[in-house]
Symmetry: C2
Subunit: 235 residues, 2 copies
């Protein structure tokens, strides 16, 4: 019977190399193989550059590419190929870390990997090390409270349908809108209808060149960077 190595889902945090946990560092120091997956090369490179100082000198680094597409069949095929790559290495008894920016269970591709490995998961030991999310880093950077006792916090994707955005933002006292870039006109409309425009702070490219914080949505460019989010809290 095959004795699989452990698969670690490791959150390396939002980008600042010091926002990684001691547990992630200690785990990275032990693994045989490191997987970096991302739809963009930049994200994989950033995750790897955060992990690199903590890796064993003989650790093997493997990139898992997946195409930037909404075609589910193409994505599924890419993930099956990636899962086969991961499974083949674990089947050699090697331990492996799958890196994700932020947290491995919050809008991460680690969930896809687990699902694709599904048939083997009963045999593969899996452990997850959580990571600081982009929105926690944005709140820390701006000194804004995300959510306080008695309130509720909604975390939504800016690319969600307008009706869903409105329902979720309308029900909670505080919110984070991730991926606030291509749908900015929709997001503005929803915040406006809910009377939340004055309660919103826009944060873009935190920790990267072009980093900016806008206290007013009026100042936000029509086509912001992909790495943009909005923090909302009712006054």
């Amino acid at each position: 019977m095959t004795r699989f190595g452990t698969l670690f889902g490791i959150g390396v945090g939002p980008g600042d190399p010091d926002l990684i946990t001691l547990k992630a560092v200690k785990t990275l120091q032990t693994v045989d193989v490191v997987f970096a997956a991302a739809s963009t090369k930049n994200e994989a490179s950033l995750a790897l550059s955060i992990a690199a100082p903590h890796l064993r000198h003989d650790a093997q680094v493997v990139r898992l590419d997946f195409p930037m597409t909404r075609d589910q069949a193409v994505l599924d095929a890419a993930w099956r190929a990636n899962a086969d790559t991961v499974a083949a290495i674990l089947a050699q008894g090697k331990s492996a870390a799958f890196l994700t920016l932020g947290d491995p269970l919050t809008y991460s591709t680690f969930g896809y990997l687990l699902r694709t490995l599904n048939g083997l998961l009963a045999e593969i030991p899996v452990a997850v090390v959580p990571g600081i999310t982009s929105y926690q880093a944005a709140a820390a950077h701006t000194g804004r409270v995300l959510v306080e006792s008695g309130e509720s916090l909604a975390v939504v994707s800016g690319v969600a349908p307008e009706a869903e955005l409105e329902a979720v933002l309308g029900a909670a006292q505080a919110a984070v809108i991730l991926k606030a870039y291509k749908n900015m006109p929709t997001i503005r409309r929803v915040l406006d209808r809910l009377g939340l425009t004055q309660s919103a702070t826009f944060v873009t490219r935190l920790g990267h060149e072009g980093e900016a914080v806008f206290a007013s949505l009026d100042e936000v460019p029509e086509k912001p960077s992909y790495f943009s989010l909005i923090l909302v809290r009712r006054g």
Copy 2:
């Protein structure tokens, strides 16, 4: 003019001493004073025990007590006294770390402190170091995805009013219900009405004695521990 020292809001993570960030460790190594505040002595002690190995040997530790009450006037008075203590130390030019379990801007008392210091905040340099939350640790422990691409995540307090719980949980695809203890009958009712009972995982006392995970709410005791939460994700 008084030159205030920097006030650091430090998230020490959910309880596992290794789930603290390198940034928190490096910051704790520099500060003159450490403040630990909590409504229960246990929480303050836990935060301090996580921070202790990283402190300077001559660091001063100050406990900020606040009463376990819902009486806003009593709480306000306690916070004014605590803010005065903090301000007096910072006014000596000393740097200080205010510890919180989890994240300083997510259901933390750090927000109260900032609000109470409000009149002085223009002069006091403040920096926040984010921390891993209890619900990220619970997701990691159970290997459950919190939220995936295209979905929304609601983070709510189990002590919220029933109508609010239902509105927030009804609008999002995934949810975390914190403080799932004294209101369990209400929470069960709401999850039941929304058809989410089978999608819920109950996690209690993670990392402490009595730690348990229940895949079915039927097995959950009627009066669980204060340190309990529920992870929900629509199948």
